[in-house]
């Protein structure tokens, strides 16, 4: 193969050019870069297609603008549209989904993946390396004790458990893996190249070509033998819906599922609860913030055990604790609200069982912040807006709102945490939600985690892609990223996105180009 540039600016591709390739990967974010990197030096010729350039550009980012109903959602700032995608601003929180997250839960309509946690385990190990975590001790108390003498809080019972997030640096995929992509002889990366439509053959059972354009008006085509859509949890659905010249409802949308079941991790801004504790040292520093253990950065959080979630028919929540302030000591001099005025009395109760006469000087109010799983419901969905962007394409319309059952779920999870702390005898918990079953505006928050819009299911009636991430009804078309999640669990999605991408890469290595 002669020396040709590996990064090609689409703005310089002559109008009307047709490019042949074995594999087209649309989107150079966590999933797309992982796939390209896993398949570098394979027998495939690969076109990696990115809407943006190597750095942030406002004109390209503006292509993410859209409308939202329900929660006022920041569609343009919740993700990034240039090489590396949203890994250019992610926080690096990593943890695998739990076994229960993959299960069909009879109390949760539309739950159940066609794969299990065990299926993904080997790929999580690879994803850990790609995300540069340096450890897989997500659940292993003994490992942290051995390495750094860190111990979990010994809350009574088995319902509330300590689990560990391990932090990526965070890996900026576009920076860290750019050289791997550049050096790969079989990869051409097309920058400033927007896929405007994925055009299938007349039978609509295979991708025929991709129609591309630049903001400056260039138009060209890529003709792949295999195609992977990896543009993120919202844009994947948008592009499928925009690809409607043959299938009027959009590609893979014969059962009106594309765009539906959008899920987020509801993050209540600020705190969801306070913990009044008799001795702040009882919640050790590795719960407060990211903690260095050798080269690894980790943090302990509280979660609910799989057995508890199954028994109580609930969805998961992860809760981070941090020391917030010293307690108010005199109710006559408190406080911002009526519940706060009870704080000195609650501390009296803690002292009543530990024998303290007055403040020990160690008492502390901890804040609890959380991310919680959301039920997949069809009405939370991505559709096309009537408005169009600078490419002349319909913008995204997102309708998303947490529902009452999500609120009840979180409230019950907080209540069981309160019971665990209470039974521990060293802390009491104040839950800050004010009304049951209603999300107040101030309680609506999100993690910029976009999941579920091209969900995975064995039956085409229930999902857009199959267990191998192949679009139902298509021989050569795949989707990568968090849009394939059938349910979202209670942890950040990037590690799972990367694990699924490595799994898809293995699948592609094992299949022939012709199906």
């Amino acid at each position: 193969m002669g020396k040709r540039p590996m990064f090609i600016d689409g703005r310089g591709v002559p109008n009307g050019t047709i490019i042949e390739t074995d594999l087209a990967i649309i989107g150079a974010g966590a999933a797309g870069i992982t796939l390209a990197r896993e398949l570098r030096d394979s027998t495939y010729s690969i076109a990696l297609i990115e809407s943006g350039g190597l750095d942030f550009e406002p004109e390209t980012q503006a292509l993410y603008e859209g409308e939202s109903t329900g929660v006022a959602y920041p569609l343009d700032s919740a993700r990034l549209r240039y090489f590396g995608g949203s890994t250019n601003h992610w926080g690096g929180w990593c943890r695998p989904l739990a076994a229960v997250d993959f299960e069909a839960r009879n109390w949760l309509p539309h739950s159940g993946w066609p794969i299990t946690r065990a299926d993904l385990d080997p790929y999580y190990a690879r994803a850990q390396e790609i995300c540069q975590l340096g450890s897989t001790d997500f659940d292993d108390h003994g490992a942290w004790h051995q390495q750094a003498n860190l111990l979990p809080i010994d809350l009574p019972g088995d319902d509330v458990i300590t689990r560990y997030f391990i932090f990526s640096s965070p890996t900026r995929f576009g920076e860290v893996y750019r050289r791997d992509i550049e050096r790969a002889a079989n990869i051409r990366t097309y920058l400033h190249s927007n896929v405007m439509e994925i055009v299938p053959n007349a039978e609509a059972n295979a991708v025929d070509h991709l129609r591309l354009g630049t903001l400056g008006g260039n138009r060209f085509q890529i003709r792949p033998k295999l195609c992977i859509l990896a543009t993120g949890g919202i844009e994947n659905a948008r592009l499928l819906l925009l690809s409607n010249s043959v299938q009027k409802a959009g590609l893979g949308n014969g059962h009106d599922i594309v765009g539906r079941y959008f899920m987020e991790h509801v993050h209540v801004p600020g705190q969801v609860a306070y913990i009044a504790i008799s001795d702040s040292s009882l919640i050790p520093p590795h719960y407060h913030d990211a903690t260095k253990v050798g080269d690894v950065s980790m943090r302990a959080v509280l979660m609910l055990s799989d057995d508890y979630l199954r028994r109580e028919k609930l969805l998961g929540t992860n809760m981070a604790l941090y020391p917030m302030r010293e307690p108010v000591t005199d109710h006559r001099h408190s406080m911002d609200d009526a519940a706060g005025a009870l704080e000195p009395g609650v501390l009296q109760l803690l002292r009543s069982t530990d024998g303290s006469i007055g403040s020990s000087g160690k008492e502390m109010i901890f804040g609890v912040s959380c991310a919680t799983e959301q039920a997949p419901i069809p009405a939370n969905r991505v559709t096309l807006s009537k408005r169009t962007d600078a490419m002349g394409l319909h913008e995204t319309h997102l309708n998303w709102k947490p529902i009452a059952s999500d609120h009840r779920n979180l409230s019950r999870n907080l209540a069981v945490v309160a019971r665990a702390f209470g039974a521990w005898g060293k802390a009491d918990v104040r839950i800050l939600f004010s009304r049951p079953d209603v999300w107040l505006d101030a309680e609506e928050g999100w993690g910029c985690h976009h999941m579920g819009t091209t969900r995975m299911a064995d039956d085409p009636k229930n999902g857009v892609v199959d267990a191998n991430c192949r679009v139902h009804g298509f021989s050569n078309f795949y989707v990568a990223g968090s849009s394939v999640f059938a349910t979202g669990g209670a942890v950040n999605p990037t590690l799972t996105v990367v694990a699924l991408a490595t799994r898809l890469a293995d699948h592609l290595k094992s299949r022939s180009l012709n199906g």
């Binding site: 109710h331 609650v346 002292r351 009543s352 069982t353 530990d354 019971r419 209470g422 839950i431």
Partner: protein, 138 residues
């Protein structure tokens, strides 16, 4: 701490404490005295009764709990704590241990009240209500 005089009152009434036979309604001076001594025995564990009373007042208001004689509440609480090993009203350490056991038992079995968001063991809430009723009465 419970005074020796009050402790003796409790012990001196025919061993009723250890027999668990406190009842309200024995309208004799000694019963009234005994109730007062029992309240003192229970509330000795709170360094600042007024602060705990705020919790009790809020609980009674929030749950619309009407007036209740402090003696009734004290007897109810005493029976609970006896079940967790409280037998010597002068022994604050024993009382703390029994209270801790009762509170733990409440949390483990979901016997929890929500007072303006605070998740409090029912036994603790009862102790706070006793503080409130005692202070109000005083």
């Amino acid at each position: 701490m419970l005074s020796r005089r009050n402790a003796l009152k409790l012990f001196g009434l025919g061993g009723l404490f250890s027999a668990g036979l406190f009842t309200y309604g024995l309208a004799t001076p000694s019963a009234v005295e005994r109730d007062a001594a029992l309240r003192e025995a229970l509330l000795q564990i709170l360094a600042n009764r007024a602060q705990a009373a705020e919790v009790g007042k809020a609980w009674m208001k929030q749950y619309k709990i009407g007036f209740m004689p402090a003696g009734t509440l004290a007897n109810r609480l005493a029976r609970q704590l006896q079940a967790h090993g409280w037998s010597d009203p002068a022994d604050a350490a024993q009382l703390r241990q029994a209270l801790a056991g009762a509170v733990r038992n409440d949390f483990l079995h979901g016997s929890v009240v929500d007072v303006r968001g605070w998740q409090i063991a029912r036994t603790h809430a009862t102790l706070c209500a006793l503080a409130h009723l005692t202070i109000t009465r005083a």
